[in-house]
């Protein structure tokens, strides 16, 4: 084959060159073999064609590159691309230009060819150099890509895992929700089985509960089988122990007794079985800080069977699901138990409440009935009582035979006793109610004691028991307290002393108690500023009391005396009532006795207020009877311009016994008035202040107060301005016309007593 060696090429070139200059047959002869056949033509053709195609390829590659790179938009090495593109383009150009060199070509073409080749050489060298840097990078990119792919695959796997876990979680949540949505034990268990069966696509699901004896497990619930029969297995089976020993779900053999729930068909492969324990927590297992101990634990057994022919396996996440569910069930069951307990307690409480309410209402009704009864008794019984007593007293005053007198006296005594008894009972019940309130008032303490003594004296004299009263010198005279009840207390105590003494003397001592006096140990007296504690001691030398009986004395209706001495009567309520009153007065009462036959001393303290005024405030009881016209010879002056009213006023005063002088004008009044006149009545009806001037003049005339007569204005209107005017002009009083007789009388007496009067309006 002829090869296109450079010499040949040169030869050709020279040949072409020489065409113009050198004839063809003067070509150098090379040592190459040339075939007869114009193989050059063929070769040239092929070269031509190849060059052409190369050129085309070379031109199209960059185009393709550009196109796809533009498409990809992420290509970091653009500059390289340009370079590469240039290189390729130039190569292509070279090959393209080569096409022209097959035939005779001009020098220009050769030049162009040379330039092209040179450029190509440059660029390609540059590119080669560049590639030295770039190719390692590209390779590393590749490795990174691989790495990332691996990572992505791994992530995918993990994602898959997470997804399965999440699904499991969802299942668990859903299951839990279902289980916890009810607080009924049976529903919980049933729901558990149903949901588990659904979630895990189980063939059968069963729950074995421990029997009451704790020695066997009884099949309590199943999923598919309708009526679980009374099927028990002993609890001490090894497989059961194995399951109970761990909190995890355990795969057990499908042939174990707990898993053999339905008649085995025999032919098929049984699905895998898993069993898990369910702790049955009892209320008493719960400690505050740690979870219940495992010692006295009861467990139920949950058995789950996969479908027979599915060749499914228990996956880890499914096992976990089962364990979680078992725990949830335990919690749900304990909640149910607690709820049952609290419901029971609540029902109990409600019952008790109802009962209490009823009792309270009954008590209220009873109290109301009693109060009504008392109220009725109070009025209804007292009225006839009073009638009896009053009429009996009246009867006593009339002429009676001795027999009759005796009878009447008995009637009177009995009815008095009955009245006292009623009062006592009513008082006591009011006291016990707490509805009794002390009626406070100011009274004379000394007088009270004297009165009590006066009341008791007759009886004491009859029994020949001298009574002495000692009032401490520092005992206040006027005190604030409940006079009536204090008297009742003192009377009761002193009365008792008299009643139960056959001989000896009785002494009543009253003093202000200070803290150093002997008092029962649990009682302290603290006299505060406006209060003090009154202590009353009643000592008798009578029968005395057994110290053991002392506490009983103050109880209602208790009597310690023998029947003989009980003839003196009394309901036994006296001391009880006294004690109540003393307590109301924030005091204390007790009895000391040296024994039977040695007399006894009754002592009580009560809190009383000290009255502020040294003399009693005002007159406690206003004397109702006015002095009838006690103004004999009282000299008065009447000044009135109106003849008629002058005459009427004069008539009034004359009727009351006064000596009346009348004047009809201010001047006359001033002339006539003297220190003999005690009162001047002046009419101030006329408008203007002239009438009032007279008052001032009279003031001027009589500088000494005791000589000046009292000035009273008679007016027809009673408004404030008139009053104020009178006061400002020095009048001592204002009277409204027309004055009635009684009015005038009262006015005069008040006036003369107080020397001022501003009330008779």
């Amino acid at each position: 084959m002829k090869h296109n060696h450079p010499l040949a090429k040169e030869g050709r070139e020279r040949e072409r060159e020489s065409r113009g200059k050198i004839p063809i047959h003067m070509m150098e002869v090379c040592n190459c073999i040339e075939p007869q056949w114009p193989a050059d033509e063929l070769l040239m053709k092929y070269q031509y064609i190849s060059d052409f195609f190369i050129a085309v390829a070379y031109f199209s590659i960059p185009l393709e590159l550009i196109y796809f790179v533009k498409k990809s938009a992420v290509f970091p090495y653009r500059w390289v691309l340009v370079q590469f593109g240039a290189f390729i383009v130039l190569c292509g150009a070279t090959h393209l230009i080569n096409l022209w060199t097959f035939t005779t070509h001009s020098r220009t073409v050769a030049l162009v060819m040379t330039t092209a080749k040179v450029l190509t050489a440059v660029v390609s060298c540059a590119t080669a150099l560049m590639l030295v840097h770039i190719i390692p990078d590209l390779l590393s990119v590749k490795t990174r890509e691989l790495f990332l792919k691996n990572k992505a695959a791994e992530l995918d796997r993990e994602m898959g895992l997470i997804r399965t876990q999440e699904e499991t979680g969802r299942h668990v949540r859903m299951l839990t929700h279902e289980i916890r949505s009810t607080l009924d034990r049976h529903t919980i268990l049933k729901t558990t089985l149903v949901e588990l069966g659904r979630t895990l696509a189980l063939e059968e699901c069963a729950l074995w509960m421990p029997t009451r004896t704790g020695l066997e497990l009884q099949l309590s619930y199943t999923l598919r089988q309708q009526h679980p029969v009374n099927y028990t297995v002993p609890i001490q089976l090894p497989v059961i122990n194995q399951v109970f020993g761990t909190s995890r779900a355990v795969k057990i053999s499908p042939n174990s007794p707990v898993a053999r729930l339905r008649p085995v068909s025999g032919k098929y492969l049984l699905g895998e079985v898993v069993a898990v324990r369910v702790p049955l927590l009892h209320l008493s297992n719960f400690q505050i800080n740690d979870w219940p101990e495992l010692s006295t634990k009861r467990y139920a057994l949950m058995v789950l069977m996969l479908p027979s022919d599915s060749a499914r396996q228990w996956h880890v996440h499914e096992l976990e699901l089962v364990e979680v569910v078992a725990d949830q069930v335990a919690v749900a069951l304990s909640h149910a138990a607690i709820l049952e307990e609290s419901m029971r307690a609540r029902d109990l409480l409600m019952e008790q409440n109802v009962a209490l309410d009823l009792a309270r209402r009954e008590a209220e009704t009873a109290i109301r009935a009693r109060n009504d009864f008392l109220a009725v008794m109070n009025h209804e019984m007292r009225t006839p009582m009073h009638a009896i007593i009053a009429l009996s007293s009246l009867l006593q005053e009339t002429e009676l035979t001795p027999e009759q007198r005796l009878m009447v006296e008995t009637v009177l005594k009995s009815s008095s006793l009955l009245a006292t008894l009623m009062n006592d009972v009513l008082d006591l019940s009011r006291l016990e109610d707490g509805s009794l309130q002390l009626e406070l008032g100011t009274f004379n303490l000394h007088t009270l004691f004297r009165e009590v003594l006066n009341l008791i004296k007759p009886i004491a004299v009859v029994k020949k028991l001298p009574i002495t009263l000692n009032l401490a010198p520092d005992l206040p005279e006027f005190v604030v307290g409940d006079e009536k009840r204090l008297m009742q207390i003192i009377l009761n105590i002193v009365g008792n002393a008299v009643k139960f003494s056959k001989q000896g003397s009785i002494s009543v001592t009253a003093l202000v108690t200070k803290s150093d006096n002997r008092a029962p140990p649990d009682f302290f007296v603290v006299p505060t500023g406006s209060h003090f504690y009154l202590r009353v001691k009643v000592k008798d030398l009578g029968a005395g009391i057994n110290p053991q009986d002392i506490p009983k004395l103050f109880t209602k209706f208790a009597q310690t005396q023998s029947l003989a001495t009980r003839s003196s009567g009394g309901s036994g309520l006296g001391l009880a009532i006294s004690k109540r009153f003393v307590n109301l007065m924030e005091g204390n009462i007790w009895i000391e006795s040296d024994g039977v036959g040695k007399g006894c001393t009754a002592i009580f303290d009560v809190k009383l207020g000290i009255s502020n005024e040294s003399k009693q405030s005002g007159i406690p009881k206003v004397p109702v009877n006015p002095q009838p016209g006690n103004f004999a010879g009282l000299k008065v002056l009447v000044m009135d311009e109106n003849g008629v009213s002058r005459m009427v006023t004069k008539g009034l005063l004359v009727h009351l016994g006064c000596e009346v002088t009348t004047v009809s004008s201010n001047e006359e009044c001033l002339r006539v008035v003297s220190h003999e006149h005690k009162v001047v009545f002046m009419d101030v009806c006329m408008p203007g202040v002239e009438n009032y001037q007279i008052a001032l003049r009279i003031h001027e005339k009589f500088t000494k107060r005791h000589q000046r007569p009292l000035l009273v204005a008679l007016t027809g209107n009673t408004d404030k301005s008139t009053k104020e005017k009178c006061m400002s002009f020095g009048l001592d009083g204002v009277l409204l016309k027309p004055v009635s007789l009684d009015n005038m009388r009262n006015v005069l007496s008040d006036l003369l007593e107080h020397r001022v009067l501003y009330e008779a309006m």
Binding site: E641, N642, G643, V644, S645, M647, V648, G651, L652, V654, H655, D683, C685, M686, P687, G716, K737, P738, S740, L741
Partner: protein, 154 residues
Amino acid sequence: MDLVQMQKSLQDYTKSLFLEGVLDSQFLQLQQLQDESNPDFVSQVVTLFFQDSDRILNDLSLSLDQQVVDFKKVDPHVHQLKGSSSSIGAQRVKNACVVFRNFCEQQNVEACHRCLQQVKQEYYLVKNRLETLFKLEQQIVASGGMIPAMELGF
């Protein structure tokens, strides 16, 4: 006429005066002031009242008939009449005087004239009645009886 009957008719008459409002309780007060030391107290007072009132009414008529009425003079008269009438218990006269005084304050001549007429009317009425009363009393006294004490039992 029987003494008892006379006494009864006196009582009825007096009662009627109170019921009509011609007299009020002040009159009773006056009667209370009448006793042995002062046997004619009531008639004395009433007579004085009549004298005074006649005079006042005359003055009032004169004052009101003037061309230009001087209310400063009219008012005191009315005031006096009011005082007197209230002192003896002539209730209606007193009330009429009160109304009169109001119109005096307003200086309403027309109304004052009317009031004067009213006052006069009431005054003559009470004068008439009291005179009748006294005649009855005199009759009783002349017959030797006692004037029964008035009880305001109605």
